[in-house]
Subunit: 139 residues, 2 copies
C-alpha cells in the first residue's frame, strides 16, 4: 500500500502513538508536504489527540501552542489539508504528513510558509500571496 | 536568484539571525529537503552558530541536542549535506534547508528518516537501508 487507508485500524493507531517521542508538553513537530508535488508547505505541532483525530477523519488537525487547543487546519479559512499519508521518523520525534492542500497553507495567503530567503544583502520575500489574508479570514 | 550565493553577505546573515524566533534553548527546527527531487530527508535543530557556519561553509551544520554540540552532518559517516538554499517561514520559527545529500541522510542507512507508517494493523517500515550502519560508522 502506498498510502494510508483512513480510518486506520485501532491497533495501527495504538502502535503509532506508542512509538511517538513527544516533548515535555506532549507535542511533536509535524511537517506538511504536498503529496504529489513534494512542496513543503508548513511545520506545526501535534499531540496524541490531534493525531488521532487526523487519522480518524482524514482531515489534518494540529495543536496550536498559542491557543492551547486543537487546530483543525482550514477551520476558519477553508484551506483544509486532506491527509494522504503519515510517516514517523527513525527517532520517533518528528512526523511527516503527506497532504492534499486545498488553496494555500500559509496564513499570509502564500501557498507555503517558507517564503523568506537571504538574497544579496537582505532577507527577502521570494513568493507572493495568492489570496489576501482579509479574504482568507473574513466571516 | 533562485538559490543562495555562498558565503552569503554579512548583512543578509544578520537580517536572517534577527528574524529567527528560537525556543528557550536558542534552537530552531530545520527541515532538510533534497533540492531537486523534493524528498524530505530529515528534521534536526540549529542554533545561531550552526546557521552561521552552514551559510559560511556551504555544508550543513546542525546542533545536536543529545551531544549539546555542533553537529557537522556527515562528519563521521561521510554523508554530508551541501547547502543549496535556506528559507525561513512566516513566523520565523522554522527553517527549510534545500540540500544536496551525499549518500543517505538517516543513521539507519536509509535515504531519509521518515520510513515508518501505519499499514494494516501495524506501524511498518516502508523503506530499507541502502547501506548498513556498520559501514556508515566504522572507523
Amino acid at each position: 500500500m502506498s498510502q494510508l487507508a483512513i480510518p486506520i485500524s485501532a491497533p495501527a493507531r495504538a502502535a503509532l502513538l506508542a512509538a511517538l517521542k513527544t516533548d515535555a508538553a506532549g507535542l511533536i513537530p509535524a511537517i506538511a508536504q504536498q503529496h504529489d508535488t513534494g512542496e513543503v508547505l508548513m511545520m506545526a505541532w501535534m499531540n496524541a489527540e490531534s493525531i488521532t483525530e487526523s487519522l480518524t477523519t482524514g482531515r489534518v488537525c494540529y495543536y496550536s501552542r498559542s491557543r492551547k487547543a486543537l487546530w483543525r487546519k482550514g477551520e476558519i479559512s477553508g484551506q483544509v489539508q486532506m491527509l494522504v499519508d503519515l510517516r514517523l521518523d527513525c527517532d520517533g520525534d518528528t512526523i511527516l504528513l503527506l497532504v492534499d492542500q486545498l488553496g494555500v497553507a500559509c496564513h499570509t495567503g502564500r501557498r507555503n510558509c517558507f517564503y523568506r530567503a537571504p538574497r544579496g544583502d537582505a532577507l527577502t520575500n521570494i513568493a507572493e500571496p495568492l489570496i489576501g489574508p482579509e479574504a482568507l479570514y473574513r466571516k
